[in-house]
């Protein structure tokens, strides 16, 4: 244990995802030794992200305006929605330049063992978007791991009565991996070769 402010900083850093006590200590002492200008820049980046960034009211992606850049773009195809778990998946798919529709960010995957059910994700919002009938294809691009597959199964069954085309990214994506780690070529191919989901 350190005195006051140093320990407070270590405790706060230790609450970040993927940061253990040892890393927290290392980052804290790095900041302590760093140039005050650098630290001030970090502080303002943290403050600004909380002040400026919110979630797109259409798709749930991060955005600095009410609607995100993709949803504001008039050239995007409104008949296709691609469902992803996290905003970082939008970034990964955008890099492939394979997809011209809009997104829907769930905010995670269904994980009963963590207590995360469909009601904890932006599933209801998705159903509302699909209700007006303008969307003809729903691409399920949840992670190619167990929870992502189960989430895709759940959604496919849920939207089945709506009669739209439901597709899942082609296999070839590494099972057990995170979508964000798939390289652009692989992810692009997975989009091209997407297959219809039968439920």
């Amino acid at each position: 244990m350190y005195e006051g402010a140093v320990q407070d900083l270590i405790d706060e850093l230790g609450r970040l995802p993927g940061v253990g006590p040892k890393s927290a200590q290392r980052i804290a002492f790095h900041l302590l030794a760093a140039d005050p200008v650098d630290v001030r820049r970090l502080v303002s980046a943290l403050t600004e992200v909380k002040e400026k960034v919110r979630f797109c009211r259409i798709c749930g992606n991060v955005s600095e305006q009410d609607d995100c850049r993709v949803c504001r773009d008039p050239r995007r195809d409104l008949t296709v929605i691609c469902v992803v778990e996290e905003p970082k998946d939008v970034v990964a798919i955008e890099k492939t330049r394979e997809f011209r529709g809009r997104y829907h960010v769930l905010g995670g995957a269904i994980s009963p063992i963590e207590g995360v059910g469909p009601d904890d994700l932006r599933v209801r919002e998705l159903m509302i978007r699909l209700q007006d009938g303008g969307v003809t294809e729903l691409i399920l691009a949840t992670d190619p791991n167990l929870e992502g597959e189960a989430t895709a199964t759940y959604l496919a069954r849920l939207v089945k009565p709506m009669g739209l085309r439901v597709t899942r990214l082609a296999s070839g994506l590494p099972v057990g991996g995170d979508l964000e780690y798939a390289d652009e070529v692989t992810l692009g191919r997975a989009f091209e070769g997407r297959r219809q989901v039968d439920v």
Partner: protein
């Protein structure tokens, strides 16, 4: 570093740092083991798919200071693919895994009977012949029995007087006679108690003849009994989709 080999079912995975996962495995010989699987979230990982929940794997592990480290993983059976394709069965499966994790309080304390029950439940779930909800209740009753707190379903939980008794009290430990019956005890149908006995002893033919409302009643009693004995409730149980 010491190496050891065991087989087990992956109960849970958690992200660690950039690309690793911590996996929790219920093994045949070493009970519940937590180990680091390095690089499994990367695309070219050797055993990313092998160490997903519901996988029955053969593992070679290094003994670590706090967590062991997976050196080799070979798939023996993957129940996850089949479960993922059927959402209600998937939710039942997660409740099986979470129960197994919660009933093994200490790491590396052998839990062979529980391991066998988990394998049996996953096999029954993926074979698809039995009602998934009954597979879950049978598993929960037997797992509680292994843990030493199966509910009394015939004799009185208080005085041991032979049954059948009409009242059922979760805090008292199951069926109770009229003398031992505490206030607030439930009066379940005899059919629900009979179903629970059948599920505990594996009388599947008799259990299969039960009515839907009897099954629901039995499930409610099993869940209440389990939640009472666990310090905090199972997170997955309320999310289980029963037909």
């Amino acid at each position: 570093m010491t190496l050891y080999r065991d087989e087990g079912v992956v109960l849970r995975t958690q992200k660690l740092g950039e690309a690793d996962r911590i996996i929790t495995v219920l093994t045949r010989r070493n009970g519940r083991v937590r180990a680091v699987a390095k690089g499994v979230r990367r695309t070219r990982s050797k055993f990313g798919a092998t160490v997903e929940p519901f996988s029955h794997v053969d593992l070679q592990l290094y003994v670590g200071r706090s967590l062991d480290i997976v050196n080799q993983a070979e798939s023996l059976m993957s129940y996850g693919d089949a479960l993922c394709a059927d959402y209600p069965r998937y939710t039942v499966g997660t409740a099986v895994l979470e129960t197994a994790e919660r009933l093994t309080a200490e790491e590396k304390e052998p839990a062979l009977r529980l391991f066998l029950l988990v394998i049996g439940a996953l096999r029954a779930l993926t074979e698809g012949e039995k009602d998934p909800s009954m597979v879950l209740d049978a598993f929960l009753l037997r797992a509680m029995s292994v843990a030493g707190y199966a509910p009394a379903l015939d004799e009185c939980a208080g005085c041991g007087a032979p049954g059948p008794h009409r009242a059922f009290s979760v805090p008292a430990g199951g069926t109770v006679c009229s003398a031992c019956r505490p206030p607030g005890a439930a009066s379940p149908s005899p059919a629900a108690l009979a179903l629970m006995r059948d599920l505990l002893t594996g009388e599947w033919a008799a259990a299969a003849r039960s009515e839907e409302r009897t099954r629901r009643e039995g499930s409610g009693l099993v869940a209440a009994h389990l939640q009472w004995h666990l310090e905090r409730g199972l997170r997955s149980l309320p999310l289980v989709e029963r037909a």
